[in-house]
């Protein structure tokens, strides 16, 4: 079945440093979504990427979808303590009905 892996599993950064998490799928995806889960909270939708090579920005967050539609990345510039949480990518397969498979997640800790 479809597998979605994320690296790194954990990341500690000093406040103000940049952060990147990478997402890799075993199969080609029709789209990829990113979610953020704050400590003790629930996953919250951030963004969706659909087109090959697509890049989207939300303030300090930059999301990219690979050309082959099998990988994606989330880059945060100048991290803040409010960025703390676990970031999940979620990939949906192509062709007919395909469930969304969540990645393994990257837990970000920001040291003030």
């Amino acid at each position: 079945g479809q597998q979605v892996m994320q690296i790194p599993q954990y990341q500690h950064v000093q406040e103000g440093e940049d952060f990147t998490t990478y997402c890799n799928s075993s199969t080609t995806l029709s789209n990829i979504q990113w979610y953020k889960q704050r400590p003790g909270g629930h996953p919250v939708f951030l963004i969706q990427l659909v087109k090959s090579g697509e890049v989207k920005k939300q303030k300090r967050l930059t999301f990219q979808f690979g050309e082959a539609k099998k990988n994606s990345s989330l880059h945060i510039t100048a991290t803040q303590t409010t960025d703390v949480g676990t970031y999940f990518c979620a990939g949906q397969g192509s062709g007919g009905y395909q469930k969304v498979t969540f990645g393994t997640g990257t837990k970000l800790q920001v040291i003030p």
Binding site: N31, H42, P43, F45, Q48, A90, Q92, F102, G105
Partner: protein, 115 residues
């Protein structure tokens, strides 16, 4: 107004007991899901219902039985609870679930601890 709600928020119980978790969404969505999140934060889908019909049933023990009385509700009943069932269970919903590009809305989670 809470979009996706779950009860209870916390559940502490003894091994071997039977328990239920309830989920309701007021978004008018057709599809609802149950996820299990373990201590390592891995988020695994368990079940998905579309308009009260089961469409996804991952390899989950038979002790777990979902029930959808209507498309706004999806409950999870667990028989003979085991220590390994301790986790956070999230309910989620999406508009149709059978189309691509569907955003999922998660409930606050139910923290289950089996002693």
């Amino acid at each position: 107004d809470t979009a996706v709600s779950q009860t209870p928020k916390y559940l502490v119980t003894q091994m071997g007991n039977d328990k239920s978790i309830k989920c309701e969404q007021n978004l008018g969505h057709d599809t609802m899901y149950w996820y299990k999140q373990d201590s390592k934060k891995f988020l695994k889908i368990m079940f998905s219902y579309n308009n009260k019909e089961l469409i996804i049933n991952e390899t989950v023990p038979n002790r777990f039985s979902p029930k959808s009385p209507d498309k706004a509700h999806l409950n999870l009943h667990i028989n003979s609870l085991e220590l390994g069932d301790s986790a956070v269970y999230f309910c989620a919903s999406s508009q149709q679930g059978n189309r691509i590009r569907e955003t999922q809305y998660f409930g606050p989670g139910t923290r289950l601890l089996v002693l």
